[in-house]
Symmetry: C2
Subunit: 380 residues, 2 copies
């Protein structure tokens, strides 16, 4: 029988590692990028298409799903995997971040966060216990503990107060998770490090989480407007303190060069809406940088978005066609470009895993950055 | 070498026929339903998915494509088939119908129709010669002659004047088509019968078209608000007069029961936006009738849209999931429901072809109507 949760590191290169997380629903090759399936769907993609890009795990959003179709309904319908036709691992967030960023009239207390549903105006409490219950009802494989994502910028005192609340909630998350016995026997719980940009707060947060004990450790409170330089600085002092044998997850990151820099610093897992959201607004990722397919320079271009990409958008269609679809507001434009962007992200992760295995990550990362900054191919 | 255009009727049953149109890009089984690929895409579908439903031919819209990306650009990019990745036959309409229904400030003269582009405000003339040129540039397999779709209702005099203009335009369409020699050697030209609800006008139109000579004959000026009863009455007197050995195409039709009744009256080809458009608004077709997936009755329903359907929406997802996607405005909802609806239409056409082959069309049609009127399955 497959282990509940086992992380095997196959190779390291500097601070970076590559390996496999083994879970009952499947293996997750790390460093891993998790496409975001907000409301029970990776937008504009069939799940078999997401899988074909190389994704081993998806992310689902507790906040969206608890409001619609509701966690209880997903449970009655057989769980999120069956509902959305994805039988591999799913990580769910705790809902906390989106309650804070998407709702009005919210109120934080020691108990949790109270907010108003944008769908029917009802008043809802999201607490560590309720978040664990929702994630259990969804059938999540990797459950995230409920925390407060400290806004940026935050004063030291604000960051300290916020981090300490998150640590009390982390303990309650662990207890809540454990109480769902059947689910806890099959799934994993990750803690989330807070502390903003302050070394000692991050260290205290890590130590408190390690004391509670989690299967993996996420770095929270980044990718919230601090910029890449600050983000990397925080990782530089945070990562060496993180438990070495557990997966490290950088939440909500990021742009391709963010991923490369974070992998160099020892991150194992990522999620971000960027490849999917960009696919709906005309932005496509290439090894020469991100390009805007809406731009008139593509309208007569018979070449693919990326000539080294195996996705259907690149093997079967021209830039001119994708440009036309995006300009005409056609759904197929979002479908093709989303597919391409997810393929690009998974290809990048596969390259990073290979580079770490080969002990050539620094060279790979430098080459990536040089090329990625060089810009798009010349117009025809 | 495959014939340019050959229609073999394999079986008849009453006025209905089933057979195959052979063209260089592939065979078209009749009666055939052509999904509409307005702007170079069947909305929300990959072309291989459209093909998987059983579609042998698509329809493209001259009006949309001439404005964006323009016929000249499609030609430079290698033609519509290559542009949109569909290597089987494509029928293009003449643009006339949509100029009249979609544009402002249009003016009809003997020369053609002048209108203003909604994209850049430029003044454009669409004439029989220009329509033939555009359809040639697109690389259309079945070209439609340029006509005026007589509005409904029309007085006898209005219908007569309009029909006679269309017949002069049909002659100019034939001449324009023939002048594109290479293209004419590979493709087919259909004439369009007009004459509104008036027997003798329809007869004169048929005779004038037959005198010019076309590969197929379409019935135009129907599905424009006259209702099914009137449409069937017009077909009842029109169809017996139509050339017997050429395909007969009922333009812009229709609902499933419209298709069944028109096949019984001898129609071989159809096109309609209904299955694709409905797929984007929550309407799904079942053998018990059309259902609205937005309806709350589906929110906990673990059953497929149709238990006899092999499409991915029905084999991999519940009504509850499709309901959720449609309610949440998710693109995947449009993707799945469009796919299902196109599968339903192609399954219906396959059933009709089989019933004609078996000499059991009347029984099949009566059973279809009884079941289609009976309504959806009982709620769980």
């Amino acid at each position: 029988m497959t282990a509940r949760f086992q992380f095997d590191i196959h190779a390291t290169d500097g601070a970076a590692r590559t390996g496999v997380i083994k879970m009952q629903r499947g293996a997750i090759r790390t460093p891993a990028f998790m496409p975001v399936g907000t409301a029970g769907t990776v937008k504009a993609m069939l799940p078999e298409s997401v899988r074909s890009t190389g994704a081993d795990i998806l992310l689902g959003n507790t906040y969206h799903l608890m409001l619609r179709p509701t966690a209880e309904r997903v449970d009655r319908l057989g769980g999120l995997h069956k509902f959305m036709n994805w039988d591999r691992p799913i990580l769910t967030d705790s809902g906390g971040f989106q309650v804070m960023s998407l709702t009005q009239l919210r109120k934080i207390t020691e108990e949790g966060v109270t907010f108003q549903s944008h769908l029917d105006g009802s008043k809802i409490l999201l607490s560590p216990e309720r978040s664990m219950e929702i994630q259990r009802l969804l059938g999540s494989d990797i459950v995230m503990s409920f925390d407060e994502c400290t806004p940026f910028p935050a004063t030291y005192d604000e960051a300290k107060t916020s981090m300490e609340l998150s640590m009390r909630w982390a303990r309650r998350s662990r207890d809540g998770f454990n109480s769902g016995e059947d689910h806890a026997a099959r799934s994993a719980l990750f803690g989330i490090v807070q502390g903003s940009v302050y070394n000692d707060l991050r260290f205290r947060s890590i130590d408190m989480l390690a004391d509670i004990g989690f299967d993996g450790y996420a770095v929270g409170g980044l990718a919230v407007g601090e910029g890449q330089e600050t983000m990397f600085k925080v990782l530089d002092f945070t990562m060496p303190r993180m438990p070495g044998t557990a997966p490290r997850y950088l939440m909500g990151v990021g742009k391709p060069d963010d991923l490369v820099g974070a992998v160099e610093r020892g991150i194992d897992m990522f999620d971000c809406v960027l490849p999917t959201r960009s696919g709906r607004t005309g932005q496509g990722f290439t090894w020469g940088g991100a390009i805007n397919l809406k731009n008139a320079r593509h309208k007569d271009d018979t070449r693919p978005i990326s000539d080294s990409c195996d996705c259907p958008a690149c093997t079967q269609y021209s830039r001119a066609y994708v440009h036309h679809l995006i300009r005409a507001g056609e759904i197929l434009g979002a479908m093709l470009l989303t597919w391409h962007n997810l393929q690009f992200y998974q290809d990048l992760m596969a390259s990073l895993r290979q580079a770490i295995s080969d002990g050539k990550l620094t060279a790979y990362a430098n080459e990536f950055r040089a090329r990625y900054g060089a810009g798009d191919i010349e117009p025809l």
